[in-house]
């Protein structure tokens, strides 16, 4: 029987992308699927409905500040997530009722979706698009407890009494990773490992001709994602140029091409790249440890060099190292020579590729969208 599913998503590409793939599968099965979001240009699959909450000024707060390390968690909650959830709550509540959602899937950072669903008595599952955040509970329990207090504080403000945090569903939490990559940790039975759901908006143009000509030597992707400020990007780009300019490597770099006046001849620089389409042709990836880029790389059996900047990325990087699928460097401290050395090491030492392939297989075995959709269908 058809079910009316509604996702509640933050305006963050990394958190939206997996829901697009999952939503596509739910639509294919004949369900009605909607997305409650602040983003009017959400690249929804055909048939998906956008339930828009107006609020341009709340959309890209995260990219406006230079944040690093543990302080970034404080920034994330105090200046991004709590205000964002507080702002979206009324709209979420209204859309759930108006659209008649029967099952809510809230992003783990969009707890307003969980609070509203809980208050309305609508069943909800939680989409954990950054699973390393869960792992952090174990590594830094004091920080996790602080996060919970922030969320419970907002719950109270929104009229939900009590100490229990409802942000993550106790019925079902979909972790977009595999047990093998996530690592050991005791979790309640609500947590389900479904593997990463790869899905990015299509229609990105790319200089395939030039990319073809870059064959013949190892080709690597270098990307630090979409949420970091200008200064951080410039520092990083300088390091990347010193590390790889003129090396026997071809570099696809995700960056605004006009940030710098010129680029080394072995670089192909584009602001957006069709990442899923080019990954199968690459040999290694250098990134900041965003969950999606890491999972996409491992799915393609590509070893990684990870330079975590903020949020949960430090934890993602340590999983990459633990899974023997790459190396971790300090984003601020590492020198160009180290970055170059690390890339050559993951390219030359077969064990990193083997590790990446092993994790890639564990992702496929986790079941992906089909399993996630089965689980969601069982919740109503």
């Amino acid at each position: 029987m058809a079910i009316r599913f509604s996702f509640v998503v933050p305006p963050l590409a990394g958190h939206v992308n997996p829901t697009l793939g999952l939503g596509t599968e739910l639509l294919r099965r004949g369900h009605a699927v909607a997305w409650i979001s602040l983003d009017p240009s959400l690249p929804l699959p055909k048939g998906g409905e956008l339930l828009l909450i107006a609020g341009e000024e709340h959309r890209d707060k995260i990219s406006r500040k230079n944040v690093y390390g543990i302080e970034s968690i404080k920034f994330l909650y105090d200046e991004v997530l709590i205000p964002l959830n507080r702002y979206m709550y009324d709209g979420v509540l209204e859309w759930i009722e108006r659209w008649g959602a029967e099952v809510i899937i809230n992003d783990h950072q969009l707890f307003a979706g969980a609070i509203a669903a809980y208050q309305l008595g609508v069943p909800y599952a939680t989409s954990v698009t950054a699973p390393a955040a869960v792992k952090m509970m174990e590594d830094l329990p004091g920080v996790h407890e602080w996060e919970v207090q922030r969320m419970v504080g907002l719950q109270r403000e929104l009229g939900l009494e009590g100490e229990r945090c409802v942000a993550c569903s106790d019925r079902m939490a979909l972790l977009f990773t595999s047990r093998e990559f996530f690592g050991e940790m005791e979790l309640s039975s609500a947590y389900q490992f479904v593997g990463p759901v790869l899905g990015r908006p299509g229609g990105v143009s790319f200089d395939w001709e030039r990319f073809e000509r870059m064959r013949g030597r190892p080709r690597i992707l270098v990307s630090i994602g979409t949420t970091f400020d200008h200064g951080q990007q410039l520092d990083f780009l300088q390091k990347v140029i010193s590390a790889f300019g003129g090396e026997e490597l071809s570099v696809v770099l995700v960056s605004d091409a006009d940030l710098l006046p010129g680029w080394p001849e072995n670089f192909l620089v584009q602001r957006r790249v069709p990442q899923l389409e080019i990954l199968p042709h690459l040999d290694a990836v250098v990134c900041h440890g965003g969950h999606n880029t890491v999972c996409e790389s491992l799915t393609n059996g590509l070893p990684l060099v990870v330079l975590p900047i903020a949020y949960d990325q430090s934890h993602v990087a340590s999983r990459v190292v633990a899974a023997d699928s790459g190396l971790r460097l300090n984003f601020k401290r590492s020198k160009p020579e180290e970055l170059r050395g690390a890339v050559w090491e993951v390219l030359r030492e077969g064990r990193y590729r083997d590790g990446a392939l092993r994790i890639g297989r564990s992702f496929k075995e986790a079941g992906g969208v089909a399993r996630a959709a089965d689980l969601l269908e069982s919740i109503k």
């Binding site: 690093y68 302080e71 329990p141 920080v143 990087a317």
Partner: protein, 97 residues
């Protein structure tokens, strides 16, 4: 550790652990003092702080509940944490023996 150690001795050990975690060549470039904070001055990220605390636990663990102490810290305390805080904590535990 069976013997009570001085602040200076603890500092030397902690400094060595920092070097092991972030790489000795980086540690040498930093001006590491008792008042240095892990987050701001040493720019250590969360996993590095966790790795550092594992080492402290291994070294002093028998007599102090370092992990428990660190686990109890909220985010502001963790951001403000300095080497000296740890030295004082270890000293206090030892004086209670």
């Amino acid at each position: 550790m069976d013997t009570v150690v001085t602040n200076q001795e603890i500092f030397v050990v902690l400094k060595q652990f920092i070097g092991e975690v972030i790489g000795q060549e980086f540690a040498d470039e930093l001006d590491i003092r008792p008042e240095s904070s892990f987050t701001k001055d040493l720019e250590m990220d969360s996993i590095e702080i966790v790795a550092f605390s594992e080492k402290v636990k291994k070294r002093f663990g028998a007599e102090i509940n370092f992990t428990g102490w660190l686990s109890g810290m909220d985010i502001d305390q963790l951001i403000a944490l300095t080497i000296n805080d740890i030295i004082i904590f270890i000293q206090e535990c030892q004086s209670l023996k």
